[in-house]
């Protein structure tokens, strides 16, 4: 394509008075006509409305346009609209560029018409410069395997598997423990209706076990996951049970003869089990296991088993499967109460935790459902301590675990049900009975005479004579310090992510928040999606959830997972990385940068390849390639350099170049616009998908062209949309580049690296104000600092 072939059409939007009130749209349009390659310019009152769109389509046809620039609002708002519009007119949708003269211009510089005007012109020039260099791209379409995997067989995992199975998809349900059921199987009653937990869960487990589309793989762990949406290759290791799954009929004869007595994990170690055991009576699959570490290998079970099912020679087995989608339902675990030393758990025998309480009050528990203390006496006066391991910065769990208020009320009601004369007190900070019917439960508890005392106990002591517990608390409603003796104290444990969650997080590349819970793609609008396409979250691994919420999220995740599997294909944006093998030295740096494993480096064949379907298009690999062998489609070096050059053509020393990432700081600047937070008009924003795309050369180029200051604004450390792009940006820009600048005679303060989230519009505006102040103070001094570059990467923005 020769330069003559590029025919750019520019459409400048008035947006009613939103843009036109501050920016002289007509003047901008006139300016646009003077720009190279621009063959057609049109003003629209509302470009996004149907008449506006028709004008674009007509322009393309009549003037044979092959590039379209729309100067209007934020591309985050209308880029998809206009892409579709140009596609309808027969143009490749990637030959469209949007210039943001509303959120980033007219709305934020309302008191400085002259400079706003200059900025609008600059932005249009930059947009045209990029548009002239755009290349047509195709979306990548990949097929989707019509099979799913659910990791974790708690109530959420079972529900997700049942839903997917019933939709007709082959579903592999992988459970780490010998039986599915999770924490719900250990509970006595559920809330708010006080119905039996295992009675409602049991049938669900049985359904899951015998569903024709569900392949239940218990006692197994996911060892390896590779691939991308639609085509995940999963390796599962099945641990040996030492009892043949097929031959064992679950009769239990082996258990009677086993001489080894061990604590039963299912019963919170309150009840015995043998070295050969089934997890619990309703276990699915109802098969026996041998705890081989504790087994004496006496062989009595072999004698007792008339099916010859026991086999000590079993080895771990590996199974490989390909699935289209994965649902993560690894759940959570109760907080370890021994960490709260002041409550004496593990030291005083009558301080127990809420899970142990569930087993003790359960009819199949160690005491047949009687609330009996360790010494055999009945507990008549019981205290519940709320927020043990929740809302507690000291132990690092700042969040509310959501379920424990209602759960403690339920447990208190169960005591009252067993023994109406028992005295029960609940020590709370705030009673949060948020669910449907939970407040009724609270009311019933008050009627039943359960005491609610507001205050977080500072200490639990033990009466050494009778082993009673003494709760020390400040009753904040009565303003008095209380010391009250109880027969038993129950600690309402918060939920926290399991140890295993970390492993799953690294295995699947799904990020976790600072508390360790998996992050949703969007907290409100995509609450069960992960940032990785094709992987969804169910149950309490994303946040603390009670049974109902877990089931709900599981069904939601199954429905979401059903979408690509029903469609049979997914399309991925074409803004991926590509390798130029002639420049590639197969050093492998790019593969290290890629958090998605999309880059394969084969040192033997001496090649590097990018798997388009896995590449999310952050560009981090491109920015860090020492040989310039990688390029990101639609955000090429050439395009971005052309933008920099265009923006800094006039009075560069007065300008601030701001590299904003699409997901956080660009959106933050949009928010500043929507909120009309005013800041100086000398800032020029360049949009990149991720701060990881901002290379050293881009910053150096800006200084070379004489930019006053440069800002790189990534997402906050744990919030990167591409998992780790901002980490590499920090390393490259914030840590390494300053020394280079110093050496080159540029004051390092002229480069700023500042985290801006999508919610921090005001902070962005304040930052620019502050930077501008500094720039004005040092204008003369900095103007003279000339960047000297030796051996810089030669990427010239060729005259288009």
């Amino acid at each position: 394509m020769t330069n003559d072939d590029v025919r750019v059409g520019v459409f400048v939007c008035h947006c009613g008075r939103n843009i036109a009130a501050t920016v002289d749209v007509h003047a901008v349009a006139e300016y646009a006509k003077t720009l190279p390659n621009v063959v057609y310019v049109k003003e629209n009152i509302y470009t996004c409305a149907e008449p506006g769109q028709n004008e674009i389509k007509a322009g393309i046809k009549e003037h044979n346009l092959n590039r379209v620039v729309v100067a209007a609002c934020s591309p985050k708002l209308h880029e998809p609209t206009f892409r579709e519009c140009v596609a309808e007119a027969g143009l490749n949708k990637y030959l469209f560029e949007m210039v943001n003269i509303r959120e980033h211009c007219s709305w934020v510089h309302m008191r400085d018409r002259e400079n706003t005007m200059k900025k609008a012109c600059d932005l249009v020039k930059s947009g045209v410069a990029k548009a002239s260099r755009l290349k047509p791209l195709e979306d990548i379409t990949v097929g989707v395997e019509k099979a799913a995997m659910v990791i974790g067989g708690g109530v959420a995992g079972c529900q997700a598997a049942l839903d997917l199975g019933s939709m007709g998809f082959k579903t592999y349900l992988v459970e780490r423990e010998p039986s599915i059921g999770g924490i719900m199987a250990q509970l006595d009653k559920t809330l708010p209706t006080l119905d039996c937990s295992i009675c409602i869960l049991g049938p669900k487990l049985v359904d899951t076990g015998k569903h024709k589309n569900i392949d239940l793989i218990a006692n197994a762990e996911v060892k390896n996951v590779s691939g991308y949406v639609g085509n995940f290759d999963v390796e599962v290791e099945i641990k040996p049970r030492y009892v043949d799954d097929v031959k064992c009929n679950g009769c239990g004869a082996c258990v009677d003869v086993c001489p080894v007595i061990l604590p039963n994990k299912y019963d919170m170690n309150l009840k015995p089990r043998k070295a050969i055991y089934a997890s619990f009576a309703q276990a699915v699959p109802l098969r026996f296991n041998i705890d081989v570490d504790r087994c004496t290998k006496c062989g009595l079970c072999m004698k007792a088993c008339d099916k010859h099912a026991i086999n000590f020679n079993q080895q771990p087995k590996t199974r490989n499967m390909r699935v289209g989608t994965i649902i993560v339902a690894v759940g959570c675990e109760p907080f370890d109460a021994t960490r709260k030393k002041e409550y004496g758990y593990g030291k005083y025998e009558n301080v127990i935790n809420s899970m142990e309480f569930e087993r003790i009050i359960c009819a199949s528990g160690p005491t047949g459902g009687e609330l009996v203390r360790k010494d055999g006496s009945h507990a008549k006066k019981v205290a519940f301590i709320q927020c043990v391991g929740s809302r507690d910065e000291k132990v690092g769990n700042k969040y509310c675990s959501l379920y424990c208020c209602a759960a403690s009320i339920k447990q208190a009601m169960l005591i009252k049900e067993h023994d109406p004369d028992a005295q029960v007190a609940i020590f709370y900070m705030d009673m949060r009975t948020h669910g449907k019917g939970y407040e009724d439960l609270y009311d019933r508890a008050r009627e039943a005479g359960i005491m609610f005392i507001r205050g977080r106990p500072s200490e639990i002591k033990e009466n050494s004579k009778n082993k009673n517990v003494v709760v020390v608390v400040e009753n904040t409603l009565m303003n008095e310090i209380m010391e009250e003796e109880f027969d038993m104290a129950v600690l309402a444990l918060g939920m926290q992510p399991t140890e295993n969650a970390k492993r799953i997080s690294t295995l699947l590349h799904i990020p976790a928040d600072t508390s360790g819970f998996f992050m949703e793609s969007h907290p409100k609008l995509k609450p069960v999606d992960t940032p990785i396409d094709g992987i969804y979250l169910a149950g309490a691994s994303a946040q603390p959830r009670d049974i109902k919420d877990s089931v709900m999220s599981a069904s939601a995740a199954a429905a979401r997972a059903g979408i690509p599997m029903t469609a049979g294909k997914v399309s991925v944006e074409g803004i991926t990385s590509v390798v130029d093998l002639s420049k590639c030295k197969v050093c492998g740096i790019c593969a290290q940068r890629c958090p998605y494993g999309a880059i394969t480096v084969d040192t033997q064949k001496n090649t590097t390849s990018v798997l388009g379907a896995s590449c999310k298009g952050c560009g981090t690999c491109v920015a860090d390639c020492p040989f310039g062998a990688l390029e990101q489609n639609h955000f090429t070096d050439e395009q971005i350099f052309a933008q920099i050059d265009a923006l800094l053509e006039e009075e560069p020393e007065k300008k601030i170049v701001s590299f904003n990432c699409n997901w956080c700081s660009y959106a933050g600047a949009d928010l500043a616009g929507v909120s009309r937070f005013q800041y100086p008009a000398n800032v020029r924003i360049i949009r990149v998908m991720c701060s990881g795309r901002v290379s050293k050369d881009m910053v150096l180029r800006a200084f070379e062209k004489g930019a006053g200051m440069v800002l790189v604004a990534p997402c906050h450390p744990a919030d990167c949309h591409y998992i780790s792009g901002n980490v590499w940006a920090k390393k490259r820009i914030d840590e390494q580049l300053r020394a280079t600048l110093q050496k080159s005679g540029v004051e390092p303060r002229r480069l700023r690296f500042f985290y801006i989230s999508a919610a921090e519009g005001l902070i962005y505006a304040n930052l620019i104000n502050e930077m501008n102040k500094e720039l004005q103070e040092n204008l003369e001094k900095w103007k003279g600092q000339k960047l000297v570059r030796a051996g810089a990467k030669k990427v010239e923005a060729k005259p288009a």
């Binding site: 009677d256 604590p263 009595l300 007792a304 160690p366």
Partner: protein
Amino acid sequence: MQISKYSDAKRTVVDNRLWAMKNSLVLEKNMCIVCDVCSKACPMEAVVLSSAGVDIDEKKCNLCEVCAYVCPTGAINIFSDKNKKEILRQSGGFPSFPKKLEIKVEKCPKDCVECEKACDMTTGGAIKVVSHKVIDVSEKCLRCVKCAEACPEGAIKVNPVFFGDIEINAEKCPTGCVECVDVCPTRAIKEKNGKVLLEKKYCVFCGACEVVCPAKDKGALVMKRNIMVSNGDGFSAIWTNALEKLTSTKSLAAAYNSINSEKLRKLALESQMVEEK
């Protein structure tokens, strides 16, 4: 609620305390003769033996009962709540041992207490004449033959559990060392003129001397158990393991060839073969 251990001057207790149930191993220190029988029989290698005494590693012990069965003095007992735990024996995994003494009390002369006088063990007397023709034999009895020798009527038959060889080569002993004399529970080893002297007929092959002997590597003391006598055979690897560790390989082979063990081996083979198919 994990397995815990506590120890005082009298006993060591390994406690598997569950909320409403208590499983425990109780080692009575005053009855323990610090022999090596339990440590050899233990399939989990949880018994730690030193000259200071017997200790149990609670992290390894899983209360499988073997030590309680083989202890020659009944110093170890395993309880499930308040009852003795005997699952292994009840399910045929471990045989019982012959009655310690068979006494034809009808032969007892009036006012004869010869047997009681003759019983001379470091842990105290094990046989007691309660009244005429009523003789009480305690768990402590080690099956030496002193009482039988002393009985004027020959009414006492002793059933030993272990048969074997023992030899003390006094010339290899370190000068002045009388460790074995001090520990021998039946006083079969004596000191005479600074020399160690063994009366083989009283030896019960408990192995206490071997535990303390500082020169056993040099051949000062050689003890070998050849045969362990039991009431029938046990159907378990615990039993074969105990046989292997406590006796010579000869009797182990005999045990393997016994009907029960053959069955066990067959079963193992069978399940393997089916697996292979």
